[in-house]
């Protein structure tokens, strides 16, 4: 049980670092926004593994839900204006 938890945490942390690198150095903006949201999603699973379900819910709702939506909204608005 304990080794399973440790193994899962290591896999999640590595995935988090990789998605964070993609988020800051990716080519396309939409992929960068999506991977920034993915970092928050993996972080919320991490919080769940560390027995903090309340923090995990906050992270999932605000970090990966609202923020990603907001970034896409602003991205669409910026693109719409540059087309004019």
């Amino acid at each position: 049980m304990n080794t399973l938890l440790v193994g899962m945490s290591i896999v999640l942390v590595i995935a988090m670092i990789v998605t964070a690198l993609v988020a800051i150095s990716g080519r396309r903006l939409s992929i960068m926004i999506l991977s920034a949201g993915l970092v928050s999603l993996i972080a919320s699973v991490m919080f769940l593994l560390l027995a903090a379900p309340d923090v995990a819910m906050t992270e999932a709702a605000i970090g990966s839900g609202l923020t990603t939506f907001l970034f896409f909204f602003v991205l669409g608005r910026v693109r719409g204006e540059s087309d004019d």
Binding site: D54, M57, I62, L66, F69, F73
Partner: protein, 231 residues
């Protein structure tokens, strides 16, 4: 060149700090004094099964008031900055959103709103609470806005929900000072049976109010963002 060197130096410094912190970490054998008090006495003091909620709403209620105030200030400033020129670009028609998005949001929005209400009403029993539930409510509103950016929401109604729940929240807190042991003391209402919906004194009431307030604040921020045209 100098910039790269500085970045490298900063990284090495951070790595040293975190590495020494990780080397010197010794896990605690037992809970410290405050944590032990909360773990042992929360159920008998407040009647809430979720200790985190009991700490946030009752033991540390003043801090929660501070958090809600910070969020209120943020929403007010966003509204103040962004509502200039809100009515200008109304005439420009936008492309209708896709079939997939509109059907999916019609199906999902009621479920998301229901989940948000569930999360903050059951905050004293299950993980979650006002802040999480409010954020979920606002993400439902966000989905509606994504589907139909021109849709009009009543700012007056949202402001009314926000201010009424804030007022009732502070009134309950001050009633706790007058009638009970201190700010947000939850002995105003009966504790009820442990684990039922209407139990734990004022905690469900206060957390529902916080949920409505947070949801209204986030929604008003999103609305003023979406209503600003080319400023």
């Amino acid at each position: 060149m100098i910039k790269r060197f500085t970045v490298l130096l900063l990284l090495v410094g951070l790595a040293t700090i975190f590495f020494s912190l990780a080397l010197g970490y010794v896990p605690d054998e037992s809970l410290n004094q405050t944590a032990r008090y909360y773990a042992e006495n929360t159920v008998s003091d407040t009647g809430a099964t979720n200790i985190v909620t009991a700490i946030i709403v009752t033991y540390r209620g003043l801090d929660t008031l501070g958090e809600v105030t910070v969020l209120f200030l943020t929403a007010a400033i966003v509204g103040l900055v962004l509502t200039r020129g809100a009515e200008e670009g109304k005439g420009k028609p936008m492309l209708p959103s896709g079939e997939l998005l509109s059907t999916g949001s019609g199906l999902l929005v009621p479920l998301i709103l229901l989940l948000g209400v569930y999360v903050f009403v059951n905050g004293h029993l299950t993980p979650g609470g006002g802040f999480q539930g409010g954020a979920i409510l606002a993400s439902g509103i966000m989905l509606i806005l994504l589907t139909d950016p021109m849709r009009h929401f009543s700012h007056r109604l949202i402001g009314l929900i926000e201010s009424v729940s804030g007022l009732v929240f502070i009134t309950v807190g001050i009633l706790g000072i007058v009638l009970g042991a201190g700010f947000l003391d939850n002995s105003l209402l009966p504790k009820g049976t442990l684990g039922e919906l209407f139990s734990a004194g004022t905690i469900p009431l206060v957390y529902s109010l916080i949920g409505l307030k947070v949801g209204a604040e986030f929604s008003s921020m999103l609305l003023s963002l979406s209503e600003t045209e080319g400023s």
